[in-house]
């Protein structure tokens, strides 16, 4: 009998602390599958950062370095430059990478640091209780702008992949969604490319995962969370590949 689907063996036997419908569990699993398939577990170091996923190390048995809020890509730069033969990834939320860490994100990508970024965009500061993020959608209610985001008060959301893809550095940039099985398969393929771009030495891999924070959105079920991604988030943040390294470009 062939086993087609199983729990990645380095997901630790710990109860997940994420809310029902939260996207982090899916991204954790995809990360493990890709690392497993690429056979790089012994050479991989994760940089965990701030927010709900700060304790990714409690769920995934890899080497981890814990960064300060916003600084994950500076940590990754230090770790990778010191160890060019190792595989370094960061796991960051939208508040982390594109609010307090905007400078680190833009400069690491501009320098073409050969690292992989898992950027989970749930349009909130989730762990702190649902405050406005740079990715909060127009009209979306947050604890700091309870009447909903308006451009005149706090501006419009930042489309991170589009912004980063204007930089003349080599790498892979894609936005994927975690709402349907088909999209999740695409997400895994994108993540694999993001790691391959680092491993080939061509450049960085940056994947934005459109996820959902059902607790702060006050949704009633995981199904509603997935539907919210398709109906709202991916309407503002279009899916697709924004940059490919040379080896992945069609001739």
């Amino acid at each position: 009998m062939t086993e087609l689907y199983k729990r990645p063996d380095f997901i630790l036997d710990e109860p997940f602390t994420y809310c029902p419908g939260c996207s982090h569990g899916i991204v954790h699993r995809l990360l493990c599958e890709v690392i497993d398939e690429l056979g790089i577990r012994g050479d991989t170091v994760g940089i965990c950062s701030i927010g709900c996923a700060v304790r990714i190390w409690n769920f995934i048995e890899l080497d981890f370095i814990q960064a300060t809020h916003g600084r994950a890509l500076a940590f990754a730069t230090g770790a990778k430059r010191a160890n060019p033969d190792k595989c370094i990834f960061t796991y960051q939320g939208d508040g982390d990478a594109m609010s307090i860490g905007t400078a680190e994100t833009i400069h690491a990508i501009a320098r073409g640091e050969k690292v992989t970024v898992l950027f989970v965009n749930n349009t909130y500061f989730g762990a702190t209780g649902g405050q406005l993020a740079p990715t909060t959608l127009p009209g979306q209610k947050t604890t700091t702008y309870p009447e909903g985001r308006t451009a005149d008060r706090i501006g419009n959301p930042i489309r991170t992949c589009e912004l980063l893809s204007t930089l003349d550095s080599e790498g892979y940039i894609a936005r994927v969604a975690l709402d349907t099985p088909a999209h999740i398969r695409q997400a895994k393929a994108a993540l694999k490319k993001a790691f391959q771009t680092q491993l080939s030495g061509e450049g960085y891999g940056f994947v934005e995962f459109l996820g959902c924070c059902p607790s702060n959105l006050k949704l009633n079920s995981p199904v509603e969370a997935w539907e919210w991604i398709g109906n709202h988030s991916s309407k503002y943040f279009p899916l697709g590949e924004f940059k490919l390294p040379r080896s992945m470009q069609e001739v």
């Binding site: 700060v54 370095i65 814990q66 600084r71 500076a74 730069t77 430059r81």
Partner: protein, 355 residues
């Protein structure tokens, strides 16, 4: 006889760091220490190391954290405002119990200040400039030679105690060129193995360099462990120099460049019949409380001399503990107290009476 060489303070730090096995330097330009950044930019890549000019001091110290977490000797340098920006990360490195070396070539503050020499970051360096109950090992060179020696020592102590160490210099020592014994540039200690380094799961064992404990109880344990470590450092690593102190009736206390002014003043005062000596803390954290406390039993008074508004003064008073008067001479913002000013001040404090 060992060879002597003429060298600038900031360059001596850079060369000693590379010889001590510093593999990674990350930093951001700021006067008066950009020569160190430039020296590392020129030297490290061709000597097997890594240099990156970071986009900010926040990023620079964070790159250091990331590289150090993989078990390699790593450093950054800056001057006062830049060091302020690093404080959160320095606290985090202390909590992660990682060895890194940070150089502060202090300039006149507060605020942006000016590039005049100063010692006004004493409190920031010694009393926890960032959040929480942590301490650094703070070494204060008074000469170019000592900049080299203390840099080697800083890497050694950082590894030995798994804690960040700081070279707290001033723009005089940083910018000055002096003849040094070339041997001072060489490390005196072997770099230890670092089995804790996060470089990938090996033989089923993983490595984690975490900064935030998982539970409330673990945070209390971390604090207790850090304090025990700081007590051990104080016990083993407190360093100071005594200059003509043994028979002194008046003791000056000064670190870094003002200690050189103090020595010149002491020689002049001794010629005039005043029995004056100097205690020069080399580590200002841990501070040589005990030696000052012992001398306080015998001397008439202490005079603390600093290029700030009296930041170390509080530690001198703590050490003296009321046993004799403690006076202060100095000032911030780049104010100097050259030997003749010290001589006049000591004579005034003595009321014209020789002791």
């Amino acid at each position: 006889m060992s060879k002597r060489t003429l060298m600038k303070g900031t360059v001596a730090i850079g060369e000693a760091a590379i010889r001590a096995g510093c593999r990674n330097y990350f930093g951001y330009p700021i006067t008066p220490q950009s020569e160190l950044l430039e020296y590392m930019a020129e030297q490290l890549p061709k000597r097997g190391g890594v240099f990156v000019q970071s986009e900010s001091e926040l990023a620079g110290i964070s790159m250091v954290h990331g590289a150090a977490a993989t078990g390699q000797r790593s450093m950054t340098s800056s001057s006062s405002p830049g060091i302020s920006l690093m404080q959160e990360e320095i606290s985090t490195i202390a909590s992660a119990e990682l060895p890194v070396v940070i150089v502060n070539v202090t300039r006149g503050s507060p605020g942006l200040g000016r590039i005049t020499p100063a010692q006004s970051d004493y409190n920031q360096a010694c009393k926890g400039g960032g959040q929480g109950d942590y301490k650094l090992i703070v070494l204060t060179p008074a000469s170019v030679q000592e900049m080299a020696e203390l840099t080697s020592l800083a890497f050694h102590l950082a590894d030995k105690y798994m804690t960040p160490a700081m070279i707290l210099g001033d723009a005089f020592a940083g910018q000055m060129m002096e003849s040094i014994d070339e041997e001072a540039l060489n490390p005196k200690f072997e770099e230890p193995e670092k089995p804790w380094a996060a470089t990938g799961v090996k033989d089923g064992k993983r490595h984690m360099v975490l900064t935030a404990p998982f539970t409330d109880a673990e945070l209390i344990t971390l604090n207790e462990r850090l304090q025990a470590k700081y007590r051990l450092i104080a016990e083993n690593e407190t360093r100071w120099e005594e200059y003509r102190a043994e028979d002194a009736d008046i003791l000056l206390v000064a670190f870094g460049t003002p200690s050189r002014f103090a020595k010149a003043a002491i020689n002049s005062l001794r010629d005039d019949g005043y029995r004056v000596g100097l205690i020069r803390p080399i580590t200002v954290c841990p501070y040589p409380y005990q030696v000052i406390n012992e001398y306080a039993k015998h001397v008439s008074f202490f005079l603390d001399i600093e290029m700030n508004e009296g930041q170390m003064l509080e530690d001198v008073r703590l050490a003296v503990n009321g046993q004799c008067p403690v006076h202060f001479l100095g000032g911030g913002g780049g104010k100097l107290t050259p030997p003749d000013v010290i001589v006049a001040h000591v004579k005034e404090l003595c009321g014209g009476d020789k002791i």
